[in-house]
Symmetry: C2
Subunit: 415 residues, 2 copies
């Protein structure tokens, strides 16, 4: 076992996880979560800077509390996320709701001081009716100039997120009708790793800000890509910051406004700080010309990204002195798609990994599992109970964040 992908978990610690909490179990690393957050907080914005955690990436209360203590704010995607953020101790003014679903609690949010981001003309109208004269954010889809495709993205003509940029006059008219003050301009476009794209997005956003005189803050969303595998690219935050900074400074030079900046990362803040500790429960093969499969007790119910996107997660077999073999890792569900190592980007093909030959009972660690795993999984598929979550503290303590679901809880609402 040469390279380890979840270095925060020693073999001894992984064994302790299994002993105390059973497998599968999510483990998060406080030290790494804090270090990652501090690095993001240091983003070199030229004027004010607010870091919002896109909590849909992992809404665990333990993670929310950690980020709250470090001074992060919250990007909430639903009324329910707002409640979870407040329950975790965030001040209402630290929470901004950016939701596809029009909120059903606009008045309540306004009265408490939760920030609202109008993601459609209809939402803008609702805000105006419920809170005339209020200061709000508006999410604009700035389009993507040449080269845009019909592929889905959170920006461009194939995306339903935000108000299409051509409707800016309607935005202004609606705001004026209700005396709404557009204080924040939001334009998340899921921009990946290319700093040139960030530069372009920033400029497009600022061109819109130029037409919205009350805007004091621009929010560029998240989409800061993290490569979970060694060969996958990760965004270079410093390079992004350099481009964004120069655009904001240029805007100030021509417009006069020194705009505050907001970013809303999810993956960037948590992906690499989480792992699933699992057990190899079986090893089978399909003959000399076939494949060797290691069956784990984790799969789609805890980590759906591979089955969904062909996403790649590092996998460590905690064994020593074994020959290296090619292995396809599969999950516990009776489902042909429950594969932890699909071919990259192709959930229907197999992507064997060279690992120490796995044996039944081995501890196996699936890395890169802090983002969109516990928060976005096929919970209870094949009736497996929801897995527990544990925080690894810097002193080595394992602190439970969530118990394993009981079978009774799965059916608790059945009548």
């Amino acid at each position: 076992m040469s390279t380890r992908h979840a270095p925060f978990l020693s073999a001894e610690k992984a064994a302790e996880v299994r002993e105390r909490f059973g497998t599968p179990c999510y483990v998060y690393d406080r030290a790494r979560l804090e270090a990652t957050a501090r690095r993001a907080l240091a983003f070199a914005a030229p004027y004010g800077f607010t870091l919002r955690y896109a909590m849909k990436a992992n809404p665990s209360r333990g993670i929310l509390a950690l980020f709250r203590d470090l001074g992060l704010h919250i990007d909430a995607s639903s009324d329910w996320e707002v409640e979870r953020a407040l329950a975790a101790g965030f001040a209402p003014a630290q929470v901004q709701l950016t939701s596809q679903m029009p909120s059903r609690r606009v008045k309540e949010h306004v009265s408490r001081g939760v920030l609202l981001n109008a993601c459609s003309l209809h939402q803008l109208e609702l805000f105006g009716q419920a809170a005339p004269g209020h200061a709000i954010a508006v999410r604009i889809n700035p389009g993507l100039g040449s080269g845009s495709t019909k592929r889905t993205n959170t920006g461009g003509p194939a995306a339903s997120f935000g108000i299409w940029h051509e409707y800016l006059d309607q935005v202004k008219a609606l705001a004026a009708r209700y005396g709404l003050v557009i204080r924040t301009l939001h334009s998340h476009i899921g921009s990946g790793t290319d700093p040139e794209i960030w530069k372009r997005v920033t400029r497009m956003t600022l061109d819109i800000a130029a037409r919205l005189p009350d805007v004091k803050t621009v929010n560029l969303g998240g989409g800061l890509k993290v490569g979970r595998m060694p060969h996958e690219d990760s965004v270079n935050l410093e390079e992004v910051a350099w481009h964004v900074r120069s655009e904001l400074e240029a805007f100030r030079a021509r417009d006069g406004r020194a705009l505050d900046l907001e970013l809303e990362p999810g993956t960037l803040l948590v992906a690499e700080s989480g792992a699933v500790v699992a057990t190899c429960v079986d090893v089978v093969d399909t003959g000399r010309d076939g494949y060797r499969f290691a069956k784990l007790d984790t799969g789609m119910p805890e980590i759906a990204r591979p089955a969904m996107y062909g996403a790649q997660h590092p996998i460590d077999v905690l064994a020593t002195g074994r020959p290296t073999v090619d292995v396809v890792f599969v999950g516990p569900c009776c489902e042909s798609g429950d594969i932890l190592t699909p071919a990259p980007g192709d959930p229907e093909a197999l992507g064997p990994r060279a690992v120490p030959e796995p044996a039944i009972g081995d501890l196996v660690i699936v890395g890169g599992a802090g983002a969109y795993c516990a928060g976005m999984a096929m919970i209870n598929y094949n009736s497996y109970p929801q897995a527990p979550e544990v925080m690894l503290e810097p002193d080595g303590t394992l602190r439970p964040l969530r118990r394993r679901q009981s079978p009774d809880q799965i059916v608790a609402n059945e009548t």
Copy 2:
């Protein structure tokens, strides 16, 4: 509104669903569930026939109870599913466990009379150790002769399901060592709609049965495809039955054994009898050259198949007197993949539908949602509470099967 895809739900009934249970809400149609089950029960097997419901498709207690009353048996995919089936009133001898995960309750299952299917050599060994002399089933992966690809499937070299056919001698040796009697041969291969494939699978399975003298039952699994859209093919059960029957008769002629048949459909039994009643919560567009989007309050948290596979579900907008327009339906999550109408087979591309122009507040019915929706969804993604389930009784009564999850329940296990 010319064609309706979930004809069991009138506009009035859908409105009643929303009024009483809110949206999104799963609705199942007892009359259609019963009719579908009776048609499958009438499968023309030449000798004995057992119909097992693959309960992972939809483990709702209300549906389990309905099938129990009709005399169906159960295909359980995990220890937890066994418990749910027993809790729903199935006799242990009606429940067969076919699991990727080796059971942790072999002795308990045996003592109660739950049937066990050895899906790997390791499972076979576990059964032998726990219940020597017991009668069991064995799941074999019969391989797929020429033309098999590396694409995933539940059969063939790229599948981890069952014991590779080349290891039959090891199966026999292990069974002999523990005095296990191989009474059932199981060989699900997810065979789609082509009756020729069914014929071939049956013959391959019977060739293996010929080498297992104690086998009295062959189980051909499920994989009976149902087209949820008008243009999609559905399996022709009568045609499949004709092929399977002739193979079983030919086997008897050459071998002497009149083998009982088992089938284990999931989708076939429930897919078309379920719908999600939703509300159109917003309508946006991306300009003249872009798309029109209807945002629904249902999406990945209730129906993950489109986002996962590019699967197609019929969608009805319950509106009259509106012009027909092309609409992309999206879900409530801040997630570019939360699309209910992707291009067929391509979850990353958009597949607009021609529907009556949707308006905010419209009732919208997503059809074909009985299988792998409530049972296989991104529950709680974006912190949306799990949706309720309701049974539409033949007399028009809406009988609640499961309440909507409360926000408190989402975080109940957090410490």
